[in-house]
Every structure is written in structure tokens, then in C-alpha cells.
Symmetry: C2
Subunit: 510 residues, 2 copies
Amino acid sequence: MCFIFLHNNINKICAKLYVKKKLTSRSKDFSKWYNELVILADLAENSAVRGCMVIKPYGYAIWEKIQSELDKMFKATGHQNAYFPLFVPKSLFEAEEKNAEGFAKECAVVTHYRLKTDPDNESKLVVDPDAKLEEELVVRPTSEAIIWNTYKNWIQSYRDLPILINQWANVVRWEMRPRLFLRTAEFLWQEGHTAHASKAEALEETILINGLYADFLENFMAIPVVQGLKSESERFAGAEETYCIEALMQDGKALQAGTSHFLGQNFAKAFDVKFATKSGGLEYVWASSWGVSTRLMGALIMTHSDDNGLVLPPNLAPIQVVIIPIYKGLEQLEAINEVVNEIKAQLEADGISVKYDNRDNFKPGHKFNDYESKGVPLRIAIGPRDLEKNVVELARRDTLEKKFVPLDGLSDLIQATLDEIQTNLFNNALKFREKHITKVDSFDEFQSVLLEKGGFISAHWDGTPETEEAIKKQTKATIRCIPLNDIPSKGRCVYSGKPSFQRVLFAKSY
Amino acid sequence: MCFIFLHNNINKICAKLYVKKKLTSRSKDFSKWYNELVILADLAENSAVRGCMVIKPYGYAIWEKIQSELDKMFKATGHQNAYFPLFVPKSLFEAEEKNAEGFAKECAVVTHYRLKTDPDNESKLVVDPDAKLEEELVVRPTSEAIIWNTYKNWIQSYRDLPILINQWANVVRWEMRPRLFLRTAEFLWQEGHTAHASKAEALEETILINGLYADFLENFMAIPVVQGLKSESERFAGAEETYCIEALMQDGKALQAGTSHFLGQNFAKAFDVKFATKSGGLEYVWASSWGVSTRLMGALIMTHSDDNGLVLPPNLAPIQVVIIPIYKGLEQLEAINEVVNEIKAQLEADGISVKYDNRDNFKPGHKFNDYESKGVPLRIAIGPRDLEKNVVELARRDTLEKKFVPLDGLSDLIQATLDEIQTNLFNNALKFREKHITKVDSFDEFQSVLLEKGGFISAHWDGTPETEEAIKKQTKATIRCIPLNDIPSKGRCVYSGKPSFQRVLFAKSY
């Protein structure tokens, strides 16, 4: 069935459909908006396993774009991929004490390797008590333990160093309050694990990767980040230093988007990994580890999206341009098909990903809504009158602007517009972030800014975990990072009044 | 330190190094040869977790080539990737009875979600008995159960069909006798899970994918396969029909390289997944599932490799051409570097992957050996005398042939030679396979061929599981498949003498 659809009615009808609110607005309930958006845009959903998500094809296609670009960047900086076991024997897991302590409370543990028919009910299964493992296996929450136990056999001499390995994998950290993409019991990530002959080299690697992450988020995902160091209490369990990138979401809460850890010799000592130095000595190996996860999907959503649904930077869009025909009857459709096939071929030849949606069982208005929800950066609508005039209607997802543009030179215009959208999204997010970094010099101000405005609060801190903890208890704000590029400045701790040498960034966070 | 290395000595010295046997020969102990080769070529190794392997960077780079090509083929046939949970609640796992029964004996089971400090020893951890799961979670041995439980919510009407989804994931099947790549407790694979409105369409999909697998193995991995159907006893647990591709290894044993299952309505019934038909009825959904795994790495090794190490088809080679300089002193090296940089740039521009190994701390002979072990298809050696003559020495890994070739037109020659190697490897494997399909018409002959020659035995079978079982018991050979393209022929079962309508392929297998 084909719907009669007059061209000059499109805007009205679509306008009507746009007004039809599907999402709770961000200003009303940001958290609800997020949860609804993930479902509406068909990105992911909860599964039958508490805390574990199903990443749906459209969401996974975005994750594949993230993976593919990061993978290129890792390889361009000399890293190789490998794969290590899902399971970590308990005795290895507990070898690096701080790491073990940090993750012990959220470990899924395999205790048996067989099920058997339930003796009381033939159609049911029970765990076979005869198949109890001698040693329990932890489902990896992170892989330092299993990897350093492996590196032990790979490293004898300085000639075996550095080792620069990355792994794309799933990990499990039990979650009491799971949220799609942001906190799930199982998530997908990459984890880099490098081994070096010197402290300087391991530190250089740690910082290199933090910079790579920042570059990726800003230039590929259009998400501005602050690069910084974590305070001791926020460090990765087992690290000497944790570098991080912190992004700011539209609700004024911060999101840790990636971390890069300088592990010192902690894991080398725990697993006894020594190397013969050039000068004939024997030393423990230096290490780094670093990762980003499907959490980036959450950062993506909460940075750019609006009350109409997902907004995607063109770099991450599985479909960059959608073309929708507006027609009445088969004859009109065929005339449009012919022109669109040419447009599509031209755009694809220029490396633009295009979908032509000429399904006959959905109204254009329905399609407009659908692709808007899914954040497709550009929409082309084309009807019989447009054909006559050699124009199409081009709509931008980021600004919601629409205009008629000539067919002639369309591909160039679209490429330029996609670039503009990418830049525009970054600039908007940057403006928002800049507006939401507030310098405060008293604790009263700290509390009122946090309450009324949110965002990052730049304040002096005396450097003690006690003050950090007290502030957290009273305000729920934590130190997100000690920014790398700030100029040291003397002052007094906003809480204790003690001397301080640098401002740090506080915020409530995901 | 730079070793003095006279050009006219290269062949002698290398010849000497080649003679230095590193691997047990295939003819002496095929199984030992395989195990040694996996280590020598730096593909994988055993881990601290029984049955779980570490896939090393070189092995993983080959797996990435397999993934990347298959992924393209899946997407080109309309499939999308997604991701489903690692864990399957026991109640879902047991829903499809045959499937559950088939996998129950090899399931890793998560029973707890927390560790705590051992009250008897502060530096140790124990499973926290207070963190016992209400319902145990099975680590997925395959994902039909969790996926069909999800599809239930995705499918209401024929408009929601077909669903064509693939997942790249790790799965766990407990193994009592693990072997690297061939049988590991955890392995990497892809699993397709499709849902259809009709039996015909689901069957068509099942057959399409089996053909896609055959195409991939033959034209990309250079491994000839027989496409066939499994007998009932060799079917996937829960399937109505299992299609497969069977390859023949150099020791005369068969290897099941991929399977594609027609699942009928079994999973739809187990999870109550019905759809409204076009004509207004309500029917159970039809299904297929299909997969290939890191086992393909085993097939690759055992099809092409030789007593010198791995042999890689150029399509799968992370390094297609390695260039090794033969020099004496820095001045000679610099002159060679200059020429090689040009060669490398030209080859890379033509899409050929090249490594220039001018490390100064390894002898050329060592490098020759190393890349030979790793199966790099082409090796270029270049010394000062070659520079004068404008030639290089080109060595083929598959035939071990060496010849001097002019620098002029080198890239074209290399591309052509890579193509030739790809074809040559397939043809050699095909010749071997054809030579090792033996028609037999008596059980005596069956036994003697199996004992003396190995390979596939093409024999009549009466179609009963009893005969199949009896033959297996007496000979260890199983029915690998009922070939798809054979012409039916009347005969008598090689074991029971009962009438038979088609020959099937028997073999010992991995």
C-alpha cells in the first residue's frame, strides 16, 4: 500500500510527527531520557541475565566504528593484538594484592565444569557436585594477572622488550545497580598491557595512550575531554598512577571515558618477571595498562543527543545520509529511484555511507522520525516536484535545519556538510564544557555551584585523602582529575584551608 | 654488531641452517609436529588455565584476516553483527532439551559473584558463601538459548522477519583432552543466528552459509572442502539438519571446519516465539545457526605446512613479503636501505604487506629461518652485488625455490607470484584430497584402506545409527558427511550388506 503524500504537505505532517514527543525531555528527567533513548534508537536492551546487556545491531555498528578507528590508532603506534584466557585461576588473581582487593567484591566465579540431569526432575539440570573445580576460576574483571603470568615466560632479556599488546575482549564486574552501556556486569572493551625496560619508557607509554584516547574522543567522537591524573583514592587497583580523560555530560555530571595506568613494577614483582639489562644486571619489568569500553557509547549519547533522540557525529554514523522518496504511485517512485540510484552511487564512490529507504509499507513521516531518533546526520527527501526543479531537500540532524539544494554538486556539498556537523558537535560540546568549569574559592560556593549549575568545579585541595573523602561525603562530588595542562597556582584548600599548589577538578560523576 | 657475510656464501650458510631440524617431521609424528609448529611459528601457547590458550600476536593477526574477510562476506549477504550476554541462566539453558543435553557435560558454571578475604589467611581470597547466585549461570557454550529468548521480544509479525544476525564471541566448552586451536576449553568464533517466516527460507539460509563457508575456505584459505550433511548422530544438538564442510589434513584425518544448522522450529517452540503471518495466522518461527571458530587455524596449519614450519596462503599472511639485507658494514646497509625503501613503498602502494627486517643484532641466516618458520610467502634478499646488477633474490616459501629477478617490474612479478602461491597451495591440497578419497565396497577393504592409506573412505551405508556406531567402535572412523553433490547410486552397506542409496564419506577425524 502506498500513501498519498503531497509534497507541500510534507513539512506540516513531519512537523506534527516531530512534535509527537516520544522521549522524556532531558530537562525533565535526564536519567529517564537516557534510558528511553537507548531503547528508542535501537542501541541496546537489558537481557535475561541481570546486569548483562544485548547490544543490538545498530548500537553494535557504532561500536564497530569505535573499534575500527581505535584499532588503527593502536597499530599505528606499534601495538599488536593478541588474546588471553577469559578465566583467571584464583591463585593468580590474588597475586597482586591491591588489584585483587580492588576487584574481589565484583567477581563472577566459576566453581563447576558440568551440569547433570536433576535426579528429581528429568527435564531439569543441576550443577554436578562431582565436577567441582579444584581451584575456582574468576571470570576476568581485567587481565593484568593472567597476562603478567604469561609475560613471565616471554621476557628474559631487554631484547624481549618492549611488549606492546592490546586485547579486544569481554570482561565481567558484578554490578548492583546496572545501567545500559554505563554500568553493566559484562562489557566489551580493549585492554592494552605493555612491558618495558625502564620506568621512563613505561610512563611515556602511559601518557602516549592517554593522549591517543583524548585525540580519539575529541577528533573522532567529537567529545571534548580533560586529560588528568587521578588522586590516590580514585586510582586503578594496583597502579602507581592513573591517567584519565574526563568528559562532561549534558546534565553536568562527569564521565570517566578512558584510563591509562602506570603500573610501576607491581605486577612484575607479584609475578616475578625480571629481565637481564643491557649492562648485565637483573631488574623487574615496568608496566602500563589502559582501556576504554562500551561505556564510550554512554558518553556519546549523553554528550550530543537531544530530546528528539540520538545525535551522531558523522564519523560514528553507520548511516551518514538517508534518502527518503516522497511519492504517489509507482510511476513517481520509479522516476525517483532512477535519480536516487545515481546520487547514491556518487556518494558511495566518495566514501559516504548511504541508505536509500524506499520501503513501501512505511509512511515518509514514520521514516523521518525513525532516522531522526537514530541520529542519522543528514536526510535527503526527494519528491516529483524536486525532480522537476533538480533539487532535493537536505535536513541536518544536529541543527534540525532544512533547505533545498541543487542536485548539481550534491556530493561535495554533503561531504562539506558532514565535516561541518562533525566540527559543530565538537564546538557545541566544548562551549558547554567551558561554560561548566567553575573556579571556586570557598566551600559555600563549591556547594552552591554544584547544586545550581553542576559541571566541573575547579578548586584548591590540600592533597589529602581525608579531605577528599569529607567533600565526597558532604556533596557526592569526587576529584575527577588533577588536570595535566594547568599551571600550578598557590592557594588554600577549599575545604580545610590548608596550603595547596594546584587546582583540581571536582564533579559528580557517572 | 654486524656479521661479515659474503654474498656467495649465503646459500651455503642458509642451506646449513635449513638443515638444522627444528621440528619433528610430519612423517615421524604428525601430532608432535603440529604441537611444535604452533609454538615455533609463535601462533599460540597453553595458559595457566587448563584447556585455555593464549593466542599470540602473530597467530592473532592471522585470525584477524580470517575475521575480516568472513565479516565482509556476512555483511555482503545481508547479515548484521550484534552482541549477546556471555552468561545463560540455567533455566533458559535447559529450555531446548536436546541442546541442553548435548552441552550439559561441558559447561563452565558460575555459582558466586564475590570473593572475600580468607579468614584463615589475610593474603588469600575465598569464594564468599553469602554471594551465592539464586540461579546458576552457564558460560555460553553456544548462544541459541539466550538469543532465542531475546528474539521472542523482537518478533511479532512477518514484518519483523527475517532476522539475520551474527556475533563474534568467545565460548566455553570444557575439554578433557585440549589441543591448541583444535580443542580448547575457551575458543573464539562467530555464530550466526537467523529467524525466518518459512521453512524454505530458513533452509535456504542454512545452505547459503554452508556455501559461503566453502567459498571462504577454498578461495581465501586455499583449503578444499567437501560440502555435506551430517548423519543424525553427528548433528548439532537441537538441529533438524546439520550441513558441514569437511577438510582433509595431511595425516589423512578429516577436520570439520564449519557447520550450518537448520534448527526447524525447535528453539521457537522451546522459547515460544510465534509470528503473525501475512495471511493472519500465528506460526512458530523457523531458525538457522552457523559457526566457524579458531579451529580454522588448526585446519590452516595441517593443510599447508611442512617440516620447515608454517606455510601461509598469501591471503592470510600478516607479512606477505619480507625483505632481508645482506651486508657488511654500515655503508653497505645504507645503500641497501635506500633501494629497499623504494621497493617497499612501491609494494605497499600496490596493496602488498611488506616487512623490511634490517635489525642489526640478528644474522641473515637467523632471519631466514625465522620467517620460514612463520610461513611468510615471499622472501627478498638483497646484497651489495645485487645492487650493482639491479637484481634481488626472491625465495618462495611454498616451493622453497629461489631465483634472481630484476628490480625493474618487481612489484608486478611479486603480485603475480603471490597469486601463483595462493593457487598452488589450493591445487596441492586438492590433489592430496582427491588422491585420498577411496571408494571401497567391502568392510575388509574399508579397514585396510583406513589403516594403510587413511583419508576419506567413500562407502555405502544402510542409513542406521547402529551400523554407524558399530563401524566407529571397530575402526574409530565416523561418517564425516553425506556429500551434497554426489549422484545417488544403489549399493549395499559396506558393513551390514543392507541396501543403500548413496555413498557417504567415512574418516578418522579431529
